[in-house]
Symmetry: none
Subunit: 191 residues, 4 copies
DNA sequence: GATGAATGAGCGTTCATTCAT
DNA sequence: CATGAATGAACGCTCATTCAT
């Protein structure tokens, strides 16, 4: 197994265990076992558990963005762009339930709060295309006159909730339901 | 300190610590210390940590419902009732940030998932007025034709997200912003 | 409930719980509950748990002796006296399984060792009629020439083992089996 | 210290402490300390305290059988075989007082009762040579006509009692006393 | 005297992290 | 490098004992 393979196995094992069992249910020894490496080996790649958790988060984000931005063009009309992003996001969550559950675990924890604070204060980049889109929407007056944060909440709050309920089996999302849901979000933010 | 005072102190200490630090940031010994009681004392009032956590959740719910239902009347027009509940909920969260953060911790954990499953399957009562409202809305065709679960998500997803961002200091909600936010939710679900 | 009734209830509750569950399985609070008294009350009658345990032992011994000595006469022939005592002892154990199991718990514990040491060193009286009988047997040369302790062991070792197996249900002792067993013990010690 | 040395140290520390102080006089932390290992280390070798206790019992049994069976032959006359086993057992106990006291602690506890039940019901093998010997003795009519269990009690009851008294210093067993004692047991069971 | 709520030391066990091999 | 055995602090929980009522 090559060096980067090992890293990948560790990341993957951590993702599965944490997504399924939470941070509690994923001791380092268990992550190591599932990754097929020694317990000490993890510490060659990640300084400690916190670093592993944050690094894994970063990697998931990086895998998510290309997926969401695939086919996205800043030339399209505003509504179409909004629908594209929302639909892509919901698709991503539904097709990557482990990623989704990990992201949820992460956000709902001290890690996530610190992370989010950094991002809003601009010390962290990442999903700036969301921010750009919403700023444009405000400038063009197609969006309701809300602070950016609230526009985010109105858009993603429902999507995340729907994704969770789908993954937990409380509702079954098909293509048309996804579209309708995103359009409902649009109704929420559009002027 | 009277008997029920002690119970109250424990509940209160648990609320604060868990809201602020999560379940694993709140060892029983620390809860006891903050409550000003011995470690063993907690177990006179709560069989174990799980029971304490669930009991605390139940108590918060019981405090929340009267707050939200205050002034609520099934005679009012549908939109008014929706706005009432949404506004009240957001108010409650904003005025009780510890409660809010505890509820979030709870829902985002094995406790919450089990709880939610019970509720959706109808084996648990509680916020049935929400369900009733939404069922009426569907029947009267004032709401978009969605499964109940998704209507919940479209309504509460944003409210919860907004409350979280307010509490974390990412946005400052005033009365008018609250109203506007709830109305945006309404735009999301109304036909 | 009178003062001595209370003491009796405590003794009785302790006997039952310890006999059935061992010292471990008999917390003071549980003893108090079964006795129908407050937990603190026990400490009015017994300085602490150790004292309770030793006192209870002493009381059981005191109840046992009259039972065993009933009908016993130093005038009878030696063998008859031996058989009387052995039979009576086995009967007592079989008819008072709680007593028997308590005595066993006691003897097999630091309490019992200290107790036995006292007794053999003569600082404790009690079952001196056993000692007298065996000393006579030695003097009259009807018993094998063994130290007293070994004669005790040859006599009571089997009886205790048989009683235990009966109580645990590994064998069913009836009157004739009891007699035969005691006679076998006699064969062991007689010259 | 090698891996198996550590396991041995733990076993040995547990044996000493439990033999001397009983199960509750031997907390895991104290066993670890005496073994010269960290508290957590025990759990690498034994799943929990129960498993350690049972494993230790099994190991003692395995050490005992070869000792007892050394020089034992099924060809010898019945009485000789009985005397061999009895003498060997008593020797073993006297030469291994810690083993003896541990075995006593074990048998006089929920562990031992369950264990003994298994053995009598035949779901456990082990000292089947005892059983075989006694069954032969019954068939050949050299033993008194008793259930097996009682023959066991008549034989081992005294031996165990004598061993205990020797170890506690209540009597001093030498070679001739051992022989005489076993012969007395034989008198007890022989027809 | 009687109570039982309160205590806190002590238990068995877990797990992030280290380090000799 | 990679390992995984070893560690020990920290956890949830119990229970003998005390003491205000």
């Amino acid at each position: 197994m090559s060096k980067s393979d090992k890293r990948e196995e560790i990341i993957c094992a951590a993702l599965e265990l944490i997504a399924e069992q939470g941070f509690h249910g994923a001791p380092m020894a268990m992550i190591a076992e599932r990754a097929g490496v020694g317990a000490g080996t993890i510490y060659r790649y990640f300084e400690n558990k916190d670093v592993l958790i944050n690094e894994l988060y970063r990697e998931l984000e990086e895998k998510m963005y290309p997926f969401i931005l695939d086919g996205y063009t800043t030339e399209a009309p505003f509504r179409a762009r909004f629908v594209h992003l929302g639909t892509a996001l919901l698709h991503y969550f539904i097709e990557h339930p482990l990623h989704f559950r990990y992201l949820e675990q992460f956000h709902n924890s001290p890690y996530g709060v610190a992370f989010r604070r950094d991002k809003l204060l601009g010390t962290r980049s990442g999903c700036d295309f969301f921010r750009e889109l919403f700023e444009q929407g405000l400038a063009q007056q197609v969006l309701k006159d809300f602070p950016l944060v609230i526009l985010f909440d109105l858009s993603f709050g429902p999507l995340v909730a729907v994704a969770r309920d789908h993954i937990l089996g409380f509702v079954q999302m098909d293509e048309s339901m996804i579209t309708k849901t995103v359009e409902a979000c649009w109704d929420g933010v559009r002027r």
